[in-house]
Symmetry: C2
Subunit: 142 residues, 2 copies
DNA sequence: ATTTGACCTTACAACAATGGGAAGGTTTAT
DNA sequence: ATAAACCTTCCCATTGTTGTAAGGTCAAAT
């Protein structure tokens, strides 16, 4: 199976397959005389594994861990669970941050007339002289 | 005011200030004889604007639009609102995606014993021979 | 047998946004 | 005069992915 076939079979682009090989996420793929990569079921299976993990937002590093665990017949499921849980917490952090932004923005948008006049609370807020927001200017010992 | 002061006053790192100048997000800053950048209130004000927009997750491109509108006395607030609303939708998309991941992962984690044994539904799911599309995973059948 | 087109190879650049660091010039305070 | 604290530009790395260029290979049609 050539790389094009493997890409279609796994849902990972040729580019990314080569990349994953180059960084060692998947071991070196065997080649034909001419240098073409040859994929067998084993490799394609791993690529599909990667594809699914990627869909769940795992980083390349985390995928490396998961792949290692997958291939370790003596793994403890606790180790796998730990990776997954850490990722859930990462996701929670990101979701939280995005929702905070969303809330603030939603609030501003709700108060903007959205007509031809220039007055706009969104810009006013962005341009506001810093009041008691998260940034600090003071650095001197007072 | 030198760049270090401007950085402290705006909450944007020196690095990023130079970068924002280099890509034209802020106009060229005037210089001393020796080549040091000189920031006046006007520039610092713009940097603070950028800092706030960035905290709300606006991209550099969107910030460019917002800055232009901010400086356009004849803007229509509708234009500002449109930028903000587009961004809210972007945020919604990202949140949605992350929550989908989170849900799936949470489900898998819940069904993993997390003990010494190797059996793990998380790995089983990732390794599954594709049955249906990856989105059609089993959802809370209780 | 040669051409064509679809495939493969590597290598390099780019994206967004940010940080790190080197090598060197300037200002300020001692 | 000298050291410390600034500033400057330039290049590199990150994460994950795509694009492109220049070239080698394979299979089918001429």
């Amino acid at each position: 199976m050539n790389i094009g076939q493997a890409a279609k079979a796994s849902g990972i682009s040729e580019k990314m397959i080569r990349y994953y090989e180059s960084i060692g996420l998947i071991g070196p793929v065997s080649r034909t005389e001419a240098g073409y990569r040859v994929f067998r079921e084993k490799e394609v299976h791993a690529l599909r594994f990667i594809s699914r993990a990627r869909d769940l937002g795992f980083s390349v590093e985390q995928m490396g861990n998961l792949l290692a665990l997958w291939q370790d017949r003596h793994r403890a499921s606790a180790d796998v669970k730990a990776v997954a849980q850490a990722h859930i917490e990462e996701l929670d952090g990101k979701i939280q941050k995005l929702q905070d932004m969303r809330r603030t923005l939603e609030h501003l948008v709700k108060h903007c007339r959205g007509d031809e006049r220039p007055d706009c609370p969104i810009l006013s807020d962005l341009a506001a002289e810093s009041v008691a927001e998260s940034h600090e200017r003071d650095v001197e010992t007072s």
